[in-house]
């Protein structure tokens, strides 16, 4: 039984946490692709930027001497999301909107987003240096342990408080997004524009407003994802740059432009990564006596070595692109 709890702690909780981060990032990527038809590469750096905004706010709050029962970094997230949304609007106004006004192709916007990536990265490193920061320098990172009421179980189910908050805020964000997209006028307008921009325009939908709202949502979600990731691990300038590809993989897996698909894709990828590097020998060990003698359980029995953890996402990405480029759910295509 202890071995199964180990499996639960390692693989299931790890998968849910990773999947939540991917899902939050992928929703933003997929919304931008649906409305503006280009792969927004700077999304990972918008996540990092959001995390640094939250870090600065948390530092300011802590300096004022206000303490909360929850991590300060989590308390300031709503404010950081507002600031990040304003930044996202500013980036669009400054770099993408002029190109769109000139009738640039989506490909040009993709290259422009590389430029934006480099600018954000350069600025973050210029201001904060290349070091690693932690949200938990002044307050402890709480661990939550749940002992199971079974006989012979010594190992508790354990996860950290930021992980719990991450999963909870992902659920809240996804439900809120769902209601926004299906119930509100603007959300319906967004879906209409994702389906057919020209038809949406002639139907009287304010497409400029829809574009702005898209950037606000994408920026806010990126900030949320980045901050929660930084709370779970640590904050550094290349925090999200390294996972922007798995995020794209999740968005493509779910079908680009398909918000629910992105969430599903994020969780599929999160689980795929943690299960692929999980050492299955641990789970097999309790059955050691039941197995015939000639089968020997090796010490490590993972599908791929842990150095290749991120590679799993890329392999899935490439396979999906080749076998079913429209993703699990049929997505928009260029």
């Amino acid at each position: 039984m202890n071995d199964f709890i180990f499996f639960f702690n390692q693989a299931i909780i790890g998968g849910v946490v990773l999947g939540s981060v991917y899902a939050l990032g992928a929703v933003g990527v997929t919304l931008i692709f649906g409305i503006l038809r280009f792969a927004h590469f700077a999304h990972g750096d918008m996540m990092t930027m959001g995390a640094f905004i939250a870090f600065v706010l948390a530092g300011a709050v802590a300096a004022m001497g206000i303490a909360f029962p929850l991590p300060t970094g989590f308390i300031v997230v709503p404010f950081a999301m507002v600031i990040a949304a304003v930044f996202a609007l500013g980036i669009d106004k400054g770099f993408y909107a002029p190109l769109r006004a000139h009738g640039a192709k989506p490909v040009t916007l993709l290259i422009a987003s590389i430029g934006v990536t480099m600018m954000i990265q350069g600025l973050i490193r210029l201001i904060f240096g290349v070091g690693t920061y932690s949200f938990f320098e002044t307050q402890p990172k709480k661990l939550i342990r749940i002992d199971l009421p079974f006989e012979g179980v010594t190992r508790p189910i354990s996860f950290s408080e930021p992980q719990l908050l991450l999963v909870l805020s992902t659920i809240v964000a996804v439900v809120a997004l769902h209601y926004f997209l299906t119930r509100s006028r603007l959300g319906k307008g967004m879906r209409a524009m994702a389906d057919n921009p020209d038809l949406a325009k002639v139907s009287g939908i304010n497409t400029r407003l829809v574009v702005r709202v898209t950037w606000v949502i994408a920026g806010a979600l990126a900030c949320l994802a980045g901050t929660m990731l930084a709370l779970d691990v640590s904050l550094k300038p290349d925090l999200a740059f390294n996972i922007v590809l798995p995020i794209f993989a999740a968005a493509i897996l779910g079908g680009l432009g398909h918000a629910y698909g992105a969430i599903a894709g994020g969780f599929v990828l999160g689980f795929a990564e943690t299960l692929a590097v999980f050492n299955w020998a641990v789970v097999l060990r309790p059955f050691r006596d039941a197995l015939p003698e000639w089968i020997e359980i090796p010490n490590t029995l993972s599908l791929v070595q842990s150095e290749y953890k991120l590679t799993v996402a890329f392999v899935i990405l490439v396979v999906v692109l080749l076998v079913r480029p429209t993703g699990i759910f049929k997505g928009a295509s260029t």
Partner: protein, 427 residues
Amino acid sequence: MTMRYITVFAALVALIVGVAMTMGSAFTMRLLVEASAYALIAMGLNIQWGFGGLFNFGILGMLMVGGFAVTFVSYPVNHAFWQSAGPLMLGQVVLGAAIGAVLIWFAHRVQRFGVTGAARGAVIVVAWFIAYVIFRSQMDPAANYITSTSGWVGGLGLPVLLGWAFGGVLAGLIGYLVGKVSLGLRADYLAIATIGIAEILRAVIKNLEWLTRGTLTVSPISWPVPNPQFYQANGADITTSFILARGGFLAVVAVVVLIALFLIHRAYVGPWGRMMRAIRDNYIAAGSMGKDVTGRQLEIFVFGSVLMGIGGAILVSFVGIYDPSSFQPINHTFIIWVMLIVGGAGNNFGALFGGLFIYMVWMLSEPLAQSLFTTLSGWSASQGWGAIPDIETRAVQMRVFVMGLIVAISLRFAPRGLLPEFIKRND
């Protein structure tokens, strides 16, 4: 138009002379060698993006492959490996891989035996899985054995120039495979697929300790011309030895770049180039005229990859150390795109200019930012606000920001580059 070429290249020469006056000849030589290698890589990207309209965000992978090739070919032979059971075990790995490949080959043709639909998919997945298990069961012991007995495979001890050529060949081969699997995709999807494959290549090369020594790095990698130590042994002082040795290296690289420029320019103005532009601008029309669109695109993808591989090999052999973890998307993929966008996609001279110019801007923005920060810091200290901390590490990061700004400005105000594509019309 000719005026513009003269102005642009004259400005470049003026910049080089200015750098040589202020930073010294040895540094300028180094800058020029590296800039020329980057220009070669930018020309490779120009073939893919400028001629063919193919997105390649996996340049990093090609550079790593080129660097590995020159390391493998030119590094001295590791006798401990060849006398151990290592080669035999690697033979078994190849055998295992071959068995797996045959299995997969049959699985993909299983519909001939009446297995179709979901069942065929299941058979293919199972075949891939079995092949993977067979491969891993041979590969893991072999890798462990080699790293524990002889460290790594070592090199072949052949001339460096052969290594450069092999870098091109190997990168072309990888480019063929990458193109084969991903060229059916368009625009954004192709970009993401190539960057994904490059990341896979990066992870593999970094972790194949038995083949590449991974993070342990390999050095020294020899030069095709006498190196500074040779001149120093013959009595030259340190600065002169660097200038002479780097000058020799620069001459070799310049010859390679000029040959490549001559060949691809001939190809560009010829019927082959016209056909490629036709495919780029309207692949449906080109296809209806009987052009083999996918085949031709594969061709340019391979050609571009060859130049990138050679460029990567030159860079690694000039630096003299092969460190897989030093390859970063920003330094080795995105910067090449900046070069091509600024120089002018579709124009070979634009790619050459962009490569030389942007690399210099990239290298020079660090000392410039440093002096700017030092001035600012002195000013803020005099105002009583305290000096700026960590000026040196921050100045290094300034160049990333400068690159982003350059590409944003360039796309906005000169979307076709400083030397735009020139199309000759006969009317």
